[in-house]
Symmetry: C2
Subunit: 238 residues, 2 copies
DNA sequence: ATTTATTGTCTAACTTATAGACAATAAATA
DNA sequence: TATTTATTGTCTATAAGTTAGACAATAAAT
């Protein structure tokens, strides 16, 4: 538990990361269950070292939780209501876990925190979820069907999703959620999962090809009794 | 100087406000010169009380500097590079002002700060600039011709302007920069100042009227030898 | 060879954006 | 009073972009 009372952390500021992944046609978020009595589910979070850039801190937290280093990461909002830590979470935690918590942990968690929200887009096949010190379970959950999250983490996810949707077309970042190669249908299904609405196949394909960022590779023979789709690769450079 | 070592402030977090106003066909920003030796120009800034929402703190800071209470305000980015306070500013400040600074001020300013950026849109005719404790001068400056600002305040203004431009069409917030009534030409000139590019008069008018948020009032007789323009008022509610 | 399901692409219809044109008009001028 | 000038409000033709329907191509099963 030495980490939490580390004097090198900036006090009263935290980082919460909404780590998005994509599998089984569902947009997922990496959440963890805290290693305490009671069903406390949380986003991947952490703190900022005194001499660390906040972006660097977010990368560090993400690397710790996913094992990957090349991560698309974006700061999207700061959550700073005075009451955000007090909506029952900490009291309930203490109540359900009497005597199990060191003073340092107690003192640290009992603070008011202002939290900087980041969202990350990762290839779920490459990311290997890794529990942090206080996690009991860590898993990918459908963004539409998350467990009850502590504090205002549900609001944070919603705001992250909203920001993701707004940025998706301008910044061409959806590809970070897919493996290296993918079919047009897979790309479309990803968009449909993110926006939670269907797209017209013909126009979606035209729009994506018109972006001039997709490289068409060989066909993908799936064994299905129909025309084989092409594989595409996202090429960032020219 | 008691304010700065106020134990009720959250340490190492600040708020910096880019207060936009509009006059003489120019987009302005409220900046202040610090009451020290040396030309230190700064954005309107402040700190967050322990039991204060960050939005409330931003409103408080804005009210202190402009005297107005109904302010359009939006959080747009957090600036948290570890080096942001150290790019010579503090050293230079100490060097040019030997022995004039109390220990509390010294200790407080010598900290690393993570700053939450807000931008505000105000009617420059209603806003009455008011110096804060450490300000020597406070004034509206053309956003295209700002004095040299301390720390990363120039970056903060640039990011604020970028965010303002992105939000302007979606959120219909430009009207906050104008007086109650205005002509179509004045509205267009405001847009041109914000985007730093010309708009076609006919299409601009059509676009604004198609928004269905402008109420047409009586004509404004300017005394000029030409057709009198209508005055318009922004109506927020249906 | 035929059928089936899906993919890739084309085009017509519709909507929106852009650019040019012109009438309306407030005040100055003749 | 009629004419001129500068600007405003609006219309329309054209261009550009979006949406919806259609159909050929094709991999594998029948």
């Amino acid at each position: 538990m030495q980490i939490l009372n580390n004097q090198n952390y900036i006090p009263q500021i935290s980082i919460d990361c909404v780590i998005f992944g994509y599998r089984d046609k569902e947009l997922k978020v990496l959440v963890s269950k805290l290693n305490f009595e009671g069903n406390f589910w949380s986003l991947a979070g952490g703190f900022i070292n005194q001499h660390e850039d906040i972006d660097t801190a977010a990368y560090r937290i993400l690397h710790e939780r996913t094992g990957i280093t090349e991560i698309y990461l974006e700061q999207f909002h700061v959550f700073g209501n005075a009451a955000r830590n007090n909506i029952g979470f900490f009291k309930k935690l203490i109540e359900l876990n009497p005597g199990t918590m060191g003073n340092e942990v107690y003192d640290w968690l009992n603070n008011r925190f202002i939290s900087i929200g980041y969202y990350a887009l990762v290839d779920i096949n490459t990311a290997i979820p890794k529990k942090a010190e206080l996690d009991k379970v860590i898993d990918w959950c459908n963004v539409k069907d998350l467990p009850g999250l502590i504090m205002d983490h549900k609001d944070i996810v919603e705001k992250a999703l909203e920001s993701l949707r707004q940025n998706l077309d301008q910044k061409l970042i959806a590809f970070n959620l897919l493996p290296e190669t993918f079919t047009m249908k897979e790309l479309q299904e990803l968009y449909e999962a993110i926006f939670d609405k269907p797209f017209a196949r013909n126009n979606f394909q035209k729009k994506m090809l018109d972006l001039n960022v997709l490289e068409r590779l060989e066909k993908k023979f799936t064994g299905a009794a129909n025309k084989a789709p092409y594989l595409y690769r996202f090429r960032n450079n020219g």
